[in-house]
């Protein structure tokens, strides 16, 4: 890259581009040394600020990431030295120049990527599960607390406080910046996957009517893909990248003019073929490792749905088999209801209703998808009066405007058939 002088906006644009591409890598390298994420963030922010001041005059350096890392690390050394001097008096010049020599021209490409360790730190068992996803968004993607707070619909200061507390805990309790070894991996990988999935599956309309729904989907996709690239031998990491890619692919077709469109009714030509292709690639890579898991099964379910874009139809029998496999390892309420819906599709509404009735969890009584599914199955089985009652119950539990309108439409149709 040539060192021509840049306008301030050019420099700002370049720094921003770098911040997106390199933030997590640089922060992980800086924080890994002493586990102090807060201090690393401050120094990296200083470095970006200095880039904005000096690049318009000097031009963008040949290796801008190395420049940022060097400046940030020098800053970290300065701060540490000032702290040491306060305790022990000035360091002698020999020590000082030795310290400076070490930090010259650090090339992040020549340093192992520490983001994987950073992800494991963020989802460490000693960190509150509720703060793991926000912590990843901040440390790996560089979001500020205010942005994260908005996405999670919590007050800004509350989120900021939670993040600071978690970072101090990491520093003070010395949670190691390390990738777990083979023995520990199965136990430690789960929480990392959950936290990344959490950013995707977050119950977005936490505030009814606000529609930040899926606003973190792209970020969780980035984290999942990063994790899969860093752990290419972990089938579930690949499975999660496949799952998120394949579900994200259908996003453009989920709404038409503000109206909710069910999966069955979506126009498959509006799905994103590139995301489908990359999702399928992760899934194939995962399968080749020969060890099934929850995220791979969920990805396979998405893959069956996405196949309609090519074949024009949905293989419901394949879906039923996959849901049965999913229930065997992860019988969540959502999975059980989805399984009942598919069973109703394959074996008839009575079988689907029987599957719904077999769910013993009391939470099912106020689980909206269970009532919507029950209503569809009753309507299909010609039990119209019961269907209307189930629709009414589903509607009463629905706070999302578009979904409510959709159910009201279905309910009115069933009622009008008399």
């Amino acid at each position: 890259m040539d060192r021509r002088a840049l306008s301030e906006t050019d420099a700002a644009a370049r720094a921003e581009e770098l911040a997106r591409a390199a933030y997590g890598r640089l922060l992980a390298i800086l924080a890994a040394r002493d586990g102090d994420i807060e201090a690393a963030e401050d120094c990296l922010a200083d470095a970006f600020e200095r880039a904005l001041r000096t690049w318009p005059e000097t031009g963008v350096p040949d290796n801008p990431a190395a420049w940022l890392l060097t400046v940030a690390r020098n800053r970290r050394h300065d701060l540490r030295r000032t702290a040491a001097e306060r305790l022990t008096g000035p360091l002698d010049d020999a020590v000082r120049s030795a310290a400076l020599a070490v930090v010259e021209e650090l090339d992040p490409d020549a340093i192992p990527d520490r983001r994987l360790a950073l992800l494991f730190v963020c989802a460490h068992p000693a960190i509150d599960p509720a703060v793991r996803t926000p912590l990843m968004l901040q440390a790996v993607l560089g979001f500020d607390a205010e942005q994260i707070a908005r996405a999670f619909v919590v007050p800004g200061p509350t989120m900021a406080q939670r993040l600071v507390r978690a970072k101090r805990r990491i520093r003070d309790a010395r949670i190691p910046f390390a990738v777990p070894d083979r023995d520990q991996m199965p136990a430690r990988l789960g929480p990392v996957l959950e936290a990344i999935y959490g950013a995707y599956a977050i119950d977005f309309p936490l505030v009814a009517g606000l529609a930040p729904r899926e606003s973190l989907a792209a970020e969780s996709h980035y984290l999942a893909v990063t994790l899969a690239e860093l752990l290419p031998d972990e089938p579930e990491a690949l499975g999660l990248a496949g799952l998120i890619s394949l579900s994200l692919a259908r996003r453009p077709a989920r709404e038409t003019g503000g109206e909710f469109v069910t999966l069955d009714e979506q126009d498959a030509s509006r799905w994103d073929p590139e995301l489908i292709e990359s999702g399928e690639r992760y899934l194939r890579q995962a399968r080749s490792l020969g060890q099934m898991g929850r995220f791979q099964i969920e990805a396979a379910i998405q893959s069956v749905h996405c196949a309609r874009a090519v074949s024009g139809e949905t293989d419901w029998r394949a879906l039923l088999t996959l849901y049965e496999a999913l229930l065997a390892i992860a019988p969540t309420l959502g999975a059980r209801v989805a399984h009942a819906a598919v069973q109703g599709r394959v074996e008839g509404p009575a079988a689907g209703l029987a599957a719904l009735d077999a769910i013993a969890d009391v939470a099912v009584q106020r689980f909206q998808p269970a009532w919507a599914t029950r209503a569809h199955l009753l309507a299909e089985g010609g039990r119209r009066e019961e269907a209307v009652r189930a629709y009414e119950r589903a509607i009463s539990l629905t706070t999302d405007v578009a979904a409510r309108r959709y159910l009201e439409g279905r309910c009115a149709n069933v009622g009008a058939m008399d």
């Binding site: 007050p155 800004g156 200061p157 505030v207 539990l397 999302d400």
Partner: protein, 125 residues
């Protein structure tokens, strides 16, 4: 069935709330009330000024007492009310958990007993 969602905020209210946050909070309440209205379940909604502007009145032993401030200093104070008409408690819960106020304080759900309509007290059903 009518339910009141009673909003309680910790006291004293955080004085360091930024303008941006107030804006975000107002947007959230706007969207919430609109969703309630669109769903046809909203009967009324009212958000109150802080307890600093409260005046309490009581008559004790025939003597009128007017007090500057709330009737009792508590850790949490009443801050607003949404009255909903929904089929049952589960539906009321579904709306209460979506209330933006749940993130700042507590939303208490109270079934209505009677209300005054057209000159008479009537059941809430």
């Amino acid at each position: 069935m009518r339910y009141a969602l009673l909003i309680h905020y910790p006291q004293p209210a955080v004085p360091t709330v930024s303008q941006d946050e107030i804006k975000a909070g107002m947007a959230a309440f706007q969207a919430y009330a609109k969703a309630l209205e669109d769903a046809g379940v909203l009967q009324s909604a009212e958000v109150l000024q802080t307890i600093a502007n409260a005046t309490s009145v009581s008559v004790k032993q025939g003597k009128l007492q007017v007090q500057d401030g709330p009737f009792a200093e508590t850790k949490e104070a009443f801050a607003g009310i949404f009255v909903l008409d929904v089929p049952d408690l589960d539906a009321a819960l579904a709306w209460a958990e979506r209330c933006p106020a749940a993130h700042w304080g507590t939303v208490e759900i109270r079934p209505s007993a009677v209300r005054f309509v057209d000159g008479a007290w009537t059941g809430a059903h």
